[in-house]
Symmetry: C2
Subunit: 344 residues, 2 copies
C-alpha cells in the first residue's frame, strides 16, 4: 500500500510534529540527514500521503500535520519502542519500595508519578471492589433507625453505607444478623454477596430472627447497589502546558468533561481489554476529548481485572514513550498487588 519512502516520510513527519507541534514542510524534511531526496520529491510524496488521508494541511499553503488516520497508522504500524529513561525507571521501582500500607495510597502515588513522568494528565480507575472478597462486616447503629454498614475487603478496602434500619429491628436482632452474616459471607466476593445471601443466609435467619423477611429484603437492597470505583487523577493542570490548549474555551470544555467522574469511569471501563489500548481523537466516546488521545492499560490481581491506568494528552502525544511507560507500570503493579493480596 505505502512505499518504503512514504513510510519513512510519514514516520519523520509525525515524530517531528509530536516534538514541535508545528506543521512540517517539504524543505525541512529534505534537509534531514536521513533523507536524500529533493524537496520537490518530498512534495509529491506529501501530496500522495495527503490524498490517502494520513496527513493534512492547516491552510492551503501550509506544511502538513498528521491526521487522526495518520496517528492511527503510526500507532499501529510505525511505533518503534523507545527505551525508558533511566531515572524514570528508578522512580517507578522506588514507588514499590516505599512501604505503603494502603492500596489507595499506592494508587494515588502512581497517578502522580505517571503525570510527572509524562507531563500529561493521568487517570486511574481504582481497584475494582466488585471482585474482592469480604473480610469483615459490621453494622453500627448511629441513631434510632439509622446505622452504618461497613464492609472490609481482603485488599484492606473499607466500604461504608449509611442505612435506615427496618422498623422493629432492635439491638439484639442487629447483633444476631451481623453474626450470621459474618459467619456465612466471609471470603465471598462482592459480586456473589447477593446470591450467597439467599443460598446460605436465608435459612439461618428464618430460624433466628423475628422479622426475617424485612431484614432479608433490607440486605438485598443493600447488596444491590454497586458502587462505582474511585477515579484518581494526577497532573490535571499539565493539560495547560500543551500549546493546543492555550484557548480557555477548549480548556473549559475538557475540564468540564473530566470532572464528570461517571463519564470518565465509563470511558476507561470500556478498555478492560488486556494490554495497551489507544484511543485517538474522535475515537473517544466523549465529545470534548476530540482533540485528545487516551492511552489505557489495565492491571489485575491474580488474573482478575482490577482497574485501569490511563494517560490523557493531546492527539499529538508521545505515543511510544507513554505506551512503554504504561506497559511497564501496569505489569509491575499487577505483580506487586498479586504478590501482596493473592497469596492469602
Amino acid at each position: 500500500m505505502l512505499t518504503d519512502r512514504q513510510l519513512l516520510i510519514l514516520q519523520i513527519l509525525i515524530d517531528e510534529y509530536i516534538q514541535n507541534a508545528e506543521p512540517l514542510g517539504s524543505r525541512s524534511i529534505s534537509k534531514r540527514q536521513d533523507i536524500s531526496f529533493s524537496s520537490a520529491t518530498i512534495r509529491n510524496e506529501l501530496a500522495d500521503l495527503e490524498e490517502m488521508g494520513f496527513i493534512e494541511k492547516t491552510h492551503s499553503s501550509s506544511g502538513r500535520i498528521p491526521s487522526e488516520k495518520g496517528y492511527r497508522f503510526y500507532v499501529d504500524n510505525l511505533l518503534s519502542p523507545v527505551a525508558m529513561r533511566n531515572r524514570d525507571m528508578k522512580r517507578i521501582r522506588s514507588l514499590f519500595h516505599e512501604k505503603m500500607l494502603e492500596l489507595e495510597m499506592l494508587i494515588e502515588h502512581s497517578a502522580n508519578l505517571l503525570s510527572e513522568i509524562t507531563n500529561y494528565t493521568s487517570i486511574i480507575l481504582g481497584p475494582e471492589v466488585y471482585e474482592t472478597k469480604l473480610k469483615h462486616l459490621q453494622i453500627v447503629p448511629i441513631s434510632t433507625g439509622t446505622a452504618i454498614l461497613i464492609l472490609i475487603t481482603d485488599t484492606g478496602h473499607v466500604e461504608k453505607y449509611t442505612v435506615e434500619l427496618p422498623d422493629g429491628m432492635d439491638a439484639s436482632d442487629l447483633e444476631r444478623t451481623v453474626n450470621i452474616l459474618n459467619e456465612r459471607l466471609k471470603g465471598v466476593p462482592f459480586s456473589h454477596l447477593k446470591i450467597k445471601l439467599y443460598q446460605e443466609v436465608q435459612g439461618l435467619m428464618k430460624t433466628h430472627l423475628r422479622n426475617y423477611e424485612k431484614t432479608l429484603d433490607f440486605l438485598t437492597r443493600l447488596f444491590q447497589n454497586e458502587k462505582s470505583d474511585k477515579v484518581y487523577y494526577g497532573g490535571k493542570t499539565n493539560i495547560l502546558n500543551q500549546p493546543e490548549f492555550q484557548d480557555v474555551e477548549k480548556v473549559k470544555a475538557l475540564y468540564n468533561a473530566i470532572e464528570k467522574q461517571d463519564l470518565v469511569y465509563q470511558l476507561l471501563h470500556q478498555g478492560t481489554i488486556e494490554g495497551i489500548n489507544v484511543k485517538i481523537g474522535a475515537e473517544n466516546s466523549i465529545q470534548e476529548m476530540k482533540n485528545c488521545s487516551l492511552i489505557t492499560a489495565s492491571y489485575s490481581i491474580g488474573g482478575q481485572h482490577m482497574g485501569t491506568l490511563a494517560i490523557l494528552g493531546p492527539t499529538r502525544m508521545e505515543y511510544p514513550r507513554v505506551i512503554g511507560l504504561l506497559d511497564l507500570l501496569s505489569k509491575d503493579l499487577t505483580k506487586v498487588l498479586t504478590q501482596r493480596y493473592y497469596s492469602n
Copy 2:
C-alpha cells in the same frame, strides 16, 4: 473623611465595575439618573478618590477601576445587603428537605449548590473530625501483622487507618484490646482520645494484656495522627468564565494552588472566626490568589466549630450577594446539623 458625593461615586463605580468588568469613565457616571453633576465634576472627584488610593487607572487615559483598598472600603462601609433571589432561597431550602443520610453527601451537595448559585468556585472544609465523639471502634486483621483500624463517630463519619500490629499480638489480644477500648472510649471526643487512653484504659490493659506496653505505645502513635479534614470543591471550572482568567498562564497558577489541599486547608482554617470573613486580593496568604477574593463563613454543631464554607472568585466579586448567601447557608447548615447530631 470622604464626602457624601465621593461615597456615592465610589459606590457606583464599584457596583458597575463588578457588573461589567470594564473601567468606568466620568461621562458614563455623569449620565446616570442618580447623578446630577457634570462629567467635569466627576472627573475632579475621581482624581481625588484616586489620590486617596481607592481607585486606579489601567493606563493614563483610561477610566477607573477599584483598587484593593477600594474593595476593602466597599466591603467594610458601602455594603448594602441585597435581597436573595427567590429561586436561590428555594434551592437552599430543598437541599435540607432532601433526605440525605450521609453528612459527607450533604456537604458535597452544598458545595455544588454554592457554585451553581454564585457562578464562582466553592470550597468547603469538611466536618471537623477532631471534635466529634467516638461511637464505635473496630480492628480487623487483614493479613499477618497488618490490620485496619476503624473509628466511627457520632456524626456517622468513618475514619480508617491501615496499621501494622505490634509483633507478638495475636487474635485474642486484639479482641481484648478492642473490647477494652470500646468499653472505655465510647462517647469520647477525638481530641481527648489520647488523654483518655492513659486515664482510663492503661490500667485495664495492664491487667488484661500480656505485652501491654507495646500495645499502648502502638495506640498512642495511632491517636496521634490528626487527619486533616476533607476539602470539597464545587464548580472549579467556573473560574474560567471570568474575563480576568482568559489567560491560560493565570489559570494554571491558580489551579496549581487550589490543587494543593493542605495549603487550601490552612487558608480556610485561619478563618475560624465567627461570621463572615472577606479576604481581598493580596490579603490572601496564597500568592497565586492575588487576583482573587475569598469569602468564608463557618458552620458548627451545638456551638462547636465544625467547618468552613468559602467562595473563591475574582476580586471583582459580587460581594453583597455572596455574603448574603454564605450567611444564610452557614446558619441553616448549623441549625440542621445541630438538630440532627447534637440531641443524641
